[in-house]
Structures are given as structure tokens and as C-alpha cells.
């Protein structure tokens, strides 16, 4: 097995052209729209779920009964475990934006990526006999659209964009929440970051 080295390792790419998918956990109500839109966009059968809402809780926080809805897409690692173990080089990291994707024609369905990913991101598609994983809806991104999960999110808790843009947004939101907290309506918009 010759592990394919992601292209990004040879060429240093600045963080500015990376994407970041940010979930505002306060706004998420766990409706699973993201999962469903993702599956419909990729036309997946029952089984594989590329992004995932994992519900933790409910538990008491700030005197409220709260459940955490964690949105778990692929993290598009800088050094992806999946690409490292892929024997055919089907899993690749795109140089221009760091998206880790599966080249379908190369995938042989060995499931090495599924075993390797510490977060269980690559999924098995029983219809095609190949692995399938979140690629931030590469085709949509290239057309200037947002990933299906972001577009389909009912509460608009998912934000997608270049990393610097998203961090700016995060800062702003944090500042706003500080402001609101100062105004005396605690808890409601408190971000847990």
C-alpha cells in the first residue's frame, strides 16, 4: 500500500483559501434537515449519512433543560487519515481549498478510510459498493453555492465560507452576545465555544 500524500503537504497553502463550516449550536434544534438535504443532494440510499447531528443530553444548564446538537461533517483535516491509508489514492485533498474528497472511479470499496477516520466520517454506500464522504458539496461550491446542508438548514445555524470570513463572523457574534448579556438577558444567546 502506498499511501498517497495529499498535495497540500508539498505546497504550503495559506489558511485564507480554506473553508470552514460553522454550526451555531444555540440555534440548532436537531431537525436533521441538514442530513436529509445532504443525502438528497448526493442521492444516497438508506445507510450512509455524510453529515451527522449527534444529540447529547438533555441536561440542565443555566437552569434550563438543554440538549446539545453537535453537527459533525468532515473536518477536512490538513493531514487526512483517510487519504493516508487509501491504497488507491481515491481520497484526495484539493490543493486550492483543501477539500478532502473521494474520486469515485478509483475507489475499490476496501473500507480502509472507514476504519482509519477517528471521527467515523467516511461512510459506506451499499448501492455503489464504494465509500462516500462529505466533500462540502464540492460541485455546489464550485458553482458558487453553499453546501446542501447549509442551504437546507431550517434555523440557519450552519454557516459556510472561507476561514477568515467565518472567524470574523464568530468574533462579531461573540461580541454581540457579550453585549446582550450585559443588557441583562442571560442565557438565551450564550454561545458555548
Amino acid at each position: 500500500m502506498s499511501a498517497v500524500q495529499p498535495e497540500s503537504e508539498t505546497k504550503h497553502v495559506g489558511s485564507s483559501d480554506r473553508y470552514y463550516l460553522y454550526q451555531d449550536k444555540d440555534r440548532c434544534i436537531g431537525c436533521y434537515s441538514c442530513e436529509l438535504h445532504c443525502k438528497m443532494n448526493k442521492n444516497l440510499p438508506i445507510g450512509p449519512r455524510l453529515c451527522r447531528i449527534v444529540e447529547i443530553g438533555p441536561k440542565v444548564r443555566n437552569d434550563n433543560l438543554r440538549a446539545d446538537f453537535h453537527f459533525l461533517p468532515c473536518f477536512h483535516c490538513e493531514k487526512p487519515f483517510c487519504a493516508h491509508v487509501c491504497p488507491t489514492g481515491a481520497i484526495q485533498k484539493r490543493t486550492k481549498d483543501g477539500i478532502v474528497f473521494i474520486e469515485n472511479s478509483l475507489c475499490i470499496g476496501c473500507k480502509c478510510c472507514i476504519a482509519a477516520c477517528p471521527w467515523g466520517v467516511p461512510q459506506w454506500n451499499p448501492e455503489t459498493g464504494k465509500a462516500v464522504k462529505c466533500d462540502y458539496c464540492m460541485d455546489r461550491v464550485d458553482r458558487g453555492l453553499k453546501p446542501a446542508c447549509v442551504t437546507g438548514c431550517l434555523t440557519q445555524c450552519l454557516h459556510f465560507g472561507p476561514v477568515d470570513e467565518t472567524s470574523k463572523l464568530l468574533r462579531q457574534r461573540y461580541a454581540e452576545s457579550m453585549d446582550i448579556t450585559a443588557a441583562g438577558t442571560p442565557g438565551q444567546f450564550t454561545t458555548i465555544l
Partner: protein, 669 residues
């Protein structure tokens, strides 16, 4: 669309194999079936015999061949020569398995099931000659729904099966019973009725016969063309001799007999002479024993019975006195350049003449059909060898309503070739009478692809080819009792297990390609078997290097490779045989068996240098939960791994799918 039991792997090239509407392959991939002149679905009936379903097995065989028992005894088994198992050890006893099935059905069972005619056509078809070709043509035509009459010159139908093949190879009762099964379909047989002399085809045409099948055989022996051949009555042709012996004249030709020729007729004549009491029987053959066209089993049995082969010996002159043969003068020969048949031509050595004292000479150097003796058959085009010329694959002669097959077309050949010709001719006659285009050459297709017998790889590898018991040699050389006793039921069950099921596995090598070249594991290994075929040879050791990933199963276009997860064990199956058992890793979270242990290790090996403590034995599902719990700062609760299924997008999807099905929508998301 694929087979119910053998559906291609999910990642396979779905267009590679063409399936018909009934879910079976459109073209057979089993070399035994592809090389059987009668195109019998061999793997299916072997599997059925292995399950003890002899009735169904015979049903399978009789779709292509009305003579399972005859073929089970005297077939020259080209299938065995192509059996892929011979690349592991030895070929299967295909012939004897068929013989056993027929015996079980005929003797212990209810006899053959007589098929109902598919139609009821008014056209009458005349079959001339009741050898295997004629009877087969009659069988298939009667099955199709035609009124068939067979005209036979001799007093009993059966052709060479009755009058040629000696009784110690083919007991006559067997032939008679199988012919009875054909007459039971409404086929009429007129014996002692030669066609071509007084009764001509034109007479038959006037009597309403619309098509004819000539299966008149090749009864005219070639002459040696040497001095003294016509001067002595002790010089006889092998077929005449065998016919005389079959119909009662069981008299030994002489104490010392020389048989000229190396084919099956020569060997049969020699073995008959031994049984009639001749003390010294020699076969005079101009090439060596390895070039003899006779079936090798017969040559071995002949040698056991004490028949000597004078190899590289050319008869030159027959010498005698007072109308009685005394000597056969022979010339020694050496092998020279190959002739057009590919065998090396014998070249006489000058001055090597010697005299062999003999009392009778039986010539068996080939036969041809005796067309001149039957002018009433019409002016048909003949080949250079004086056989009837037919269009290939539809057996039509130069006369449009006359079809021919068997030895009359091929020259001396085998029973199974005649059966194949009869079957093709019946198909063509049906097309001709229904004014359809004449059938083209089609590759045979499987009839059922019966489920294989489940077993372990060691069992598959170590069952040896069964020895066919034979009667004692002392008894063999004195009586006409059947020599080969055939398999018994237990032996047949064992033998059937050896089948490699080439009808399921196409031996395309995709699994090796993916395992060796793409994955770099080289666990599953195929070996070259012949020129263009591959065979899995790992039945002996299983697959010691296998990591159990299932890529081979995923890529298999035929469904021959299958994977069954059974609790903590994953079984890898090749055509129903377990070729590997792999222990599964249990998820520490939910407790499910998610991936093979060795596979997890294999992946870990490649992740050693990655900056991550890869030591959690969690299934992908639980890894997500563990990660989410880490983010929330709580202990992971893996119980939700199962409950998540029902309350997530998959649950919604499943529900939506059910709704879709209720309103009759497509089975899609």
C-alpha cells in the same frame, strides 16, 4: 438483473455479465458445458446429484440429452478434459456421476419423466437411421410436438449403441430402456425398413413427410489397400465383426487375431476378441500408443486385458494358403514430419519387414457412410471424405428439407457428438417447418445455476477423485459383463463436492486484480489454468493473508464471492465454499461487530506515524458519539448509537420510502 442467489457485488461492473430475463446468465461460463457437444448444463446436475436429487438431475440432463445413462457409460467425456478441477488435482468423474443419476432414477426411482409435447403440430418428420443422432432428433422433434417416424434398417433400433459398442461397455438393456423413454413420447420406430433402396425419400414425401433427418451412420469400413486383402474371408471390418457379435454370432475369429487401426472401433474389436477366447490379440498401429485416437481409458483397460499394441507398424501384405490367412507382413516405421491432422506421419523403414502369424485380421482404419448403397436418399452434396455435406449449426444438407447428422456427417465420431448433431438438427427442422430463419450458432446457457453445496475449503481441496471400481480382471476377459461398475451414492456425493462451479465464477480475475494490484495484499490468488482461464487454487490453505476487507466480494461481477457476517465471525465464500473465516472486532461502545480484527490492525499499521492515539476500538458510529460527547464535556452514551438510527435522517428517509411505496412511487429517495 441478476441471479437471485448470485447477485454481483455492489462495486462490480454490472454490464460485464449479461443476464437473461429468468435471472440466469445468457451464456454459460462452464468449460464442461461449453465443450459438451450436447451442451449439457454439467455444474447444475452435479450439484443436484450432490444433494441426492437424482430426478431433478436427470431432468436437467434430458433437456439436452435423451441418453443420460448411455452417455454415463460410454461418453468420451470431453467435459472432463476441460474440467478446471484438473488444475488442482484431477478432473471430476462427470461421466460416472451422470451414469449414477440415471441408474438411480431408472432402477431405484420412478424412471424418466416423459415430457409433454410443447405443441401439437400436424407435420410429419421422417428420421432415417435410429442411432443416437436419429433418436435424439426424434426426441426433440416429438417434444416440440411433431409426429416422428424412425426408419431403421436393422432389426433393432439403436444403431451403434446396439450393434457396435460392445456389451461389456454398454449393456443392451440400458439402451433399450432409454429408447423406450423416447418411444413413449409417441415416436414410431419402423425396424427392418431400409430407406434409400426400394423405399425412397420421394415415396415418403408423397406420404406426407415434410422434413427428413438422415442419421445413417458410417458403416462402410475403409479398405487397407494391401495385397491379399480381398483373398481371404478372415479379413473382416471391425464394424461388421462387432455387429455380428452383438446380434448373436459370438464366435472367435481365430486364435491369433491382428486388429489394424488405433481408434475406438479397433480397441473394442480387440477387447471383444479376448472375450471370445482368442489367445493372442494384437493391435497393429502405424504410429505410437500416444497417438492412438481411442479413448485413453479404453487403451488402459485394453492393456490390462492383455492386448498387445504393435506400435509403429504398417501392415504391408497378407499372406496365406488355401484361402486361409497365415501371416500379416508388416513394416516397421518411424515418425516423420507432421501431416495435416497434426500427428507425425509414419515413414516406413526399409528392410524392416517381418511376418506376424495370425489367423484373422480385423480392419478398423476408419469408416465412411455408405451413400452409394442408398440412391433413394437423393442427390446430396458430399464432402471429399464421402460424408454428407451439411451447413454448420443447422445440419441442413444441399436438399432443403433433408437434414443430416451423426457419423454420416462427421465420419466415425462419438455418441455425444451424434446427440449434439441430432439436437441441432431438431432445432433447425423446427425452424424450417415453421418457416423461421435457421438457427444461428449460440453458446449454451445454464438451465438453473443450482445452489452449491456448502462446505469448508479443506474439504473441497482434499477430496480426491473417486476411483471407478471395475470387475475382476479374471472375469473381465471371459465374460461380456459390464467392466466399469460406476460410482455408488456415497462416492457420488463426495465427487460432486469437488466441482469448482465454473458456471458461477467466470474466473475473470477481478478479485485478484483488486486484492493484489490495488490493495497490495495478495490474499486471494488465482493461477493460470490453460491458456485463457484462471482458477482459484487457495482451497488448500484458505487465504492466510486475507484481511477480510471484502473488496473482492465488492468487485465480483458474478456473485461467486460472497461474504457473510455471522456474529464474531466473517465468512468469505467462493461458490458456496467457505474459503476464509475471519474474527471480527467488537466495538467497545455499542458492542456491535464492525470490522475484522486483522483489518483494523492492517489500517493501524499505516497510521502508526500519524499524530493520533489510535487505540479506541469503536465503530464509526460510536466514534461520532464519542467525539460529540467530548465536545459537550460529558461521558459518551453509546446506547444512542442504535436509537439514533430511528430518529435521524435515515429514519425520515425510511418512512418516506414506505410512503412512496404505498403510493406506488419509485423505490428511490
Amino acid at each position: 438483473m441478476g441471479h437471485i442467489m448470485f447477485s454481483p457485488g455492489a462495486g462490480a461492473d454490472k454490464d460485464r455479465i449479461v443476464y437473461a430475463e429468468d435471472g440466469l446468465k445468457r451464456e454459460s461460463s462452464a468449460p464442461c458445458q461449453l465443450n459438451c457437444p450436447a451442451e449439457i448444463d454439467v455444474p447444475s446436475y452435479i450439484a443436484l446429484i450432490g444433494k441426492g436429487k437424482y430426478d431433478e438431475a436427470i431432468e436437467q440432463i434430458r433437456k439436452d440429452n435423451p441418453f443420460p445413462w448411455v452417455c454415463g457409460l460410454v461418453c468420451t467425456n470431453p467435459c472432463e478434459a476441460w474440467c478446471q478441477r484438473r488444475y488442482l488435482d484431477k478432473a471430476l468423474c462427470i461421466k460416472d456421476l451422470k451414469g449414477l443419476a440415471a441408474k438411480m432414477v431408472m432402477e431405484k426411482g420412478t424412471g424418466y419423466r416423459i415430457p409433454e409435447p410443447r405443441n401439437a403440430f400436424q407435420e410429419k418428420v421422417a428420421v432415417i437411421g435410429s442411432g443416437p443422432a436419429g433418436l435424439t432428433a426424434a426426441y426433440f422433434l416429438a417434444w416440440e410436438g411433431y409426429k416422428v417416424t424412425i426408419f431403421e434398417l436393422m432389426k433393432e433400433p439403436g444403431g451403434l449403441m446396439i450393434a457396435g459398442i460392445p456389451e461389456f461397455r454398454l449393456p443392451r438393456t440400458i439402451v433399450r430402456r432409454e429408447i423406450e423413454a423416447i418411444t413413449a413420447m409417441g415416436v414410431e420406430i419402423a425396424t427392418d425398413t431400409p430407406v434409400g433402396t426400394d423405399l425412397t425419400l420421394d415415396h415418403l414425401r408423397a406420404n406426407g413427410y415434410k422434413a427428413f433427418f438422415l442419421g445413417i451412420g458410417a458403416w462402410q469400413g475403409y479398405r487397407l489397400g494391401i495385397e491379399g486383402e480381398n483373398d481371404y474371408p478372415q479379413v473382416i471390418s471391425a464394424l461388421q465383426f462387432l455387429k455380428d457379435v452383438s446380434f448373436g454370432l459370438k464366435i472367435k475369429p481365430a486364435d491369433k487375431v491382428a486388429i489394424v487401426g488405433g481408434g475406438n472401433a479397433a480397441v473394442d474389436a480387440a477387447r471383444t476378441c479376448i472375450r471370445l477366447g482368442s489367445q493372442s490379440v494384437s493391435i497393429v498401429y502405424r504410429r505410437t500408443r500416444s497417438e492412438m485416437p481411442a479413448h485413453f481409458e479404453e487403451i488402459i483397460q485394453m492393456a490390462e486385458e492383455g492386448i498387445h499394441v504393435h506400435q509403429l507398424t504398417i501392415p504391408a501384405k497378407i499372406l496365406g494358403n488355401y484361402g486361409k490367412v497365415d501371416f500379416l507382413e508388416c513394416v516397421m516405421a518411424t515418425l516423420g514430419e507432421p501431416d495435416p491432422s497434426g500427428r507425425r506421419r509414419p515413414v516406413p523403414i526399409e528392410g524392416s519387414e517381418y511376418k506376424m502369424p495370425v489367423g484373422a485380421i480385423i480392419t478398423a482404419i476408419g469408416q465412411r457412410p455408405d451413400i452409394e448403397a442408398f440412391p433413394g436418399l437423393g442427390e446430396m452434396e458430399l464432402t471429399k471424405q464421402q460424408t454428407i455435406k451439411v451447413a454448420s449449426y443447422n445440419q441442413q444438407t444441399s436438399l432443403p428439407d433433408v437434414f443430416a447428422g451423426g457419423d454420416a456427417v462427421t465420419g466415425p465420431a462419438t455418441v455425444v457428438q451424434a446427440i449434439g448433431a441430432g439436437k441441432r438438427a431438431a432445432r433447425a427442422i423446427h425452424a424450417y417447418l415453421r418457416s423461421q430463419a435457421s438457427p444461428e450458432k449460440l453458446l449454451p446457457r445454464p438451465h438453473s445455476m443450482v445452489a452449491p453445496t456448502p462446505m469448508d475449503y479443506r474439504e473441497k481441496a482434499f477430496i480426491q477423485r473417486q476411483e471407478i471400481p471395475m470387475i475382476d480382471l479374471d472375469r473381465r476377459i471371459h465374460t461380456f459383463d459390464q467392466v466399469e461398475l460406476g460410482l455408488d451414492e456415497i462416492a457420488a456425493k463426495q465427487e460432486a463436492k469437488r466441482c469448482m462451479r465454473c458456471d458461477i465464477c467466470e474466473r475473470c480475475g477481478k478479485c485478484v486484480d483488486v486484492c493484489k494490484d490495488k490493495l497490495g495484499v495478495s490474499a486471494i490468488r488465482f493461477h493460470h489454468a490453460g491458456e485463457s482461464s484462471l482458477i482459484l487454487k487457495d482451497y488448500v490453505h484458505g487465504l492466510p493473508k486475507c484481511i477480510g476487507c471484502g473488496s473482492c466480494v465488492n468487485i465480483c461481477p458474478t456473485g461467486a464471492l460472497q461474504m457473510i457476517d455471522r456474529g464474531d465471525e466473517r465468512l468469505l465464500l467462493m461458490c458456496g465454499t467457505v474459503i476464509n473465516r475471519i474474527k471480527m472486532e467488537q466495538c467497545h461502545g455499542c458492542g456491535a461487530y464492525y470490522l475484522p480484527k486483522i483489518f483494523v490492525k492492517h489500517v493501524e499499521k499505516y497510521l502508526e506515524d500519524m499524530p493520533h492515539a489510535y487505540n479506541d476500538k469503536l465503530c464509526p458510529e460510536c466514534r461520532k458519539i464519542a467525539h460529540a460527547a467530548r465536545m459537550s464535556g460529558t461521558e459518551p452514551n453509546y446506547d444512542i448509537a442504535t436509537s439514533l438510527e430511528s430518529m435521524s435522517a435515515d429514519g425520515v428517509q425510511q418512512h418516506a420510502k414506505l410512503l412512496w411505496l404505498q403510493v406506488g412511487g419509485p423505490n428511490k429517495t
